[in-house]
């Protein structure tokens, strides 16, 4: 952090200034001039927080993708299918048992097992042949998508939010001042706040595991040089299996989250595959903090785009990707190899 500031004083100043302006926009009551320019504050805040929550969901899905890529150089283009599979399993579990929370471990375990089978049966057979692996996962995603369409049909499912999380929650942020002179506060769906918190907790846990535990040490060593790690006696295939299972399981959990505050339909697998791709391209391949940063940027830009320029919201995402590729091809927090 300190190194970055001393190396790039101008950029740090720009980033700090941008964050300060954003914070001011969030916290201060808006004047009428600003409302004329940006629309109502409630709208802006809703787009911003919606974007951050969407970013949290993107982070859940993309972090598994980027972890797998960073360690094994496997581009798993069936990741979107794992997301959708996790969502459908979560839907079935929560419908049958009536427990939203139970859906998470069940979905995590089942999708993780699917991911491990994928790793062991597909990727391990073609080690080092990145292109073939990619092609096979494309084929598998086609097959999985069709089988899921067969099983669950084309209709859209929404996972029921549990009672204790449904309804709005008050957020201590002033939206405006009403006639009586009292400040009105922003109300926001409680379940989205829970999702955001959960994503932050998972992100922090992942960071801790990666940076503070023995397994994390093995993973980081594997990212840097897996031949050397294998040569020093580590059973690297087990590390691979564990990481692949964990990444796939995260996608499965992401499916439940997505199914709760959006919906599960057959096209969602490609949508989230695309989102993961863009997030890791923007954030930097193989970097967890990069995935978090990229996810928040893409989530906010999508929601802002939907609010302020509905026709072109996709183009914003795309332009961000192009800008990053043009100026920093390895991604915002990616490393040059």
């Amino acid at each position: 952090m300190r190194g970055f500031v001393s190396r790039n004083p101008v950029w740090s100043a720009v980033i700090v200034l941008g964050l300060a302006i954003l914070l001011w926009l969030i916290l201060s009551p808006w004047t009428s001039d600003m409302e004329a320019l940006l629309g109502r504050k409630r709208l802006f805040l809703n787009a911003l927080f919606g974007g951050i929550t969407l970013g949290a969901l993107y982070f859940l899905v993309a972090s598994g993708f980027t972890l797998i890529f960073g360690l094994m150089r496997n581009v798993n283009l069936a990741h979107g299918s794992l997301y959708l599979l996790g969502g459908y399993i979560g839907f079935e579990v929560s419908e049958r048992s009536g427990s939203w929370l139970l859906a998470f471990p069940v979905s995590f375990v089942i999708v993780a097992i699917v991911g491990m089978i994928l790793q062991n049966q597909v990727f391990r057979r073609m080690e080092g042949e990145e292109l073939r692996q990619t092609l096979v996962t494309i084929g598998l995603s086609v097959v999985l998508a069709d089988l899921m369409l067969w099983w669950w049909g084309g209709q859209s499912y929404t996972i029921q939010t549990p009672d204790w999380l449904s309804g709005p929650a008050q957020v201590p942020i002033v939206v405006g001042v009403n006639r009586a002179g009292e400040a009105t506060y922003l109300s926001y769906p409680a379940v989205r706040i829970a999702i955001l918190l959960a994503a932050i907790v998972i992100g922090v846990l992942m960071w801790l595991v990666l940076n503070r535990s023995r397994l994390g040490m093995l993973i980081r060593a594997g990212v840097d040089d897996r031949e050397m790690l294998a040569a020093s006696g580590v059973r690297i295939q087990w590390v691979f299996l564990a990481v692949f299972g964990f990444g796939a399981g995260l996608a499965g959990i992401g499916g439940i989250v997505g199914g709760t505050f959006q919906s599960l339909t057959p096209g969602e697998d490609t949508r989230f595959l695309l989102a993961s791709l863009v997030v890791v391209i923007v954030g930097g391949m193989g970097s967890i903090p990069g995935a978090a940063l990229g996810a928040v940027i893409i989530g906010i830009s999508e929601q802002m785009g939907l609010v302020y320029a509905p026709t072109y919201s996709v183009v914003f995402t795309f332009l961000i990707m192009v800008a990053v590729l043009a100026f920093r091809p390895q991604g915002l927090l990616g490393r040059t190899r």
Binding site: E130, V142, I281
Partner: protein, 361 residues
């Protein structure tokens, strides 16, 4: 020094992109199977009925051309680009927007000699820009970036109503009635697509042997060495995207004429992946591969409902069939059906290439 190897498939050797051994003789070297296939295709309207001419062969040639542009980038340039279907779709959209269509409010009604070149130009420009972005990275990154751009293009056409007419797209986009022929009639359309396919096949074969094509293959195999030799690696790659985009654009225009309509579904992710499947199943080492892949794909697509029904399955499951077939091909034969054929030939002749298994890139 040059030794003619007769062990392999002679048709393949000619189309392999190997430099011609003797300049004046290369036409004569085209082997018998080539002439037989060409003759058969030319007299096809005498044999096949209209459904086969229009739906099976016309569609195969079109898909083959779009997949050929992918093959050119993947096989000679080492860049697996998934943008080719979007380039083709953009050309189709441009023909609908600049020319005439059922959407009179948007279409500009330009004459055909203006709108077709402009459409191809715009599509080629788009392909070049995406290529310029994609060549900043390498290998699997190229797939990811081009897939992301292709998806963005699909969502954009679906959301944009001002230019692309959103969800509905354009209908009644018809080929111009040139020389008093309705080019959408099965027989004229068959010859039109056959001609375009043959031309693009010849163009790819020629370019692959030209100094540019050889340099591109050099860039594929050793970018650093080529750079050290003074070649501009990036420029060669971007130029390859431009050339491939032109072929894809022609294919896209033919596709619009065949369907007489275009909508976001034409450039959707499943179609983008189908093009990749076609190229890989056919084989990305030779220009003829994508056409073989396209014929297989179209036959499966056309007749799999009957087969699936015979097994008591729903006709919807043909995606599973195609996906499984693709996975199996990639698993067992990385260079597609053509690779299977070559291996079978090699085994039959009991003579293996002394330099290994044909040099996988």
């Amino acid at each position: 020094m040059v030794q003619i190897d007769r062990s392999g498939d002679p048709l393949g050797d000619i189309l392999n992109g190997k430099p011609a051994q003797t300049r004046p003789g290369w036409l004569v070297q085209l082997p018998l199977p080539f002439w037989a296939v060409a003759f058969l295709l030319l007299i096809m309207p005498l044999i096949a009925n209209n459904f086969w001419l229009f739906q099976v062969f016309g569609w195969s040639f079109i898909l083959g051309m779009i997949a050929l542009s992918l093959m050119f980038l993947a096989g000679y340039g080492g860049m697996v680009s998934l943008i080719q279907m979007s380039v083709a779709g953009l050309a189709g959209y441009m023909v609908a927007i600049l020319g005439t269509s059922g959407m009179a409010e948007i279409s500009l009604n330009w004459p055909w000699w203006l709108n077709i070149p402009v459409a191809i130009g715009i599509a080629a420009l788009f392909g070049t820009i995406v290529g310029a972005l994609a060549v900043r990275t390498e290998g699997i990154y190229t797939i990811m970036i081009t897939l992301a751009v292709a998806a963005a293009f699909f969502y954009f056409t679906r959301q944009n109503y001002g230019i692309f007419n959103g969800y509905t797209g354009f209908n009644r986009v018809l080929p111009p009635p040139l020389f008093g022929v309705n080019w959408r009639d099965p027989v004229p359309f068959y010859y039109l697509t056959l001609g375009c396919a043959a031309l693009s096949l010849a163009a790819v074969t020629y370019v692959a042997r030209s100094p540019f094509g050889l340099a591109l293959q050099g860039v594929r195999d050793g970018p650093r060495r080529m750079a050290a030799l003074g070649f501009n690696v990036t420029a060669h790659r971007i130029a390859a995207y431009t050339f491939a985009s032109v072929i894809a654009a022609v294919g896209g225009i033919l596709l619009v004429w065949q369907n007489s309509q275009i909508s976001p579904g034409t450039v959707g992710i499943p179609v983008v992946i189908d093009i990749l499947v076609i190229a890989v199943v056919g084989g990305v080492k030779r220009p003829i591969g994508p056409f073989i892949g396209a014929v297989i794909y179209v036959l499966l697509r056309t007749f799999s409902p009957d087969v699936l029904t015979a097994f008591g399955l729903s006709t919807e499951r043909f995606k599973t069939l195609i996906g499984l077939g693709f996975v199996l091909i990639v698993f067992f034969s990385p260079d597609g059906v053509l690779g299977l054929w070559e291996r079978w030939q090699a085994r039959r002749h009991k003579r293996r290439d002394p330099l290994g298994d044909g040099g996988t890139p």
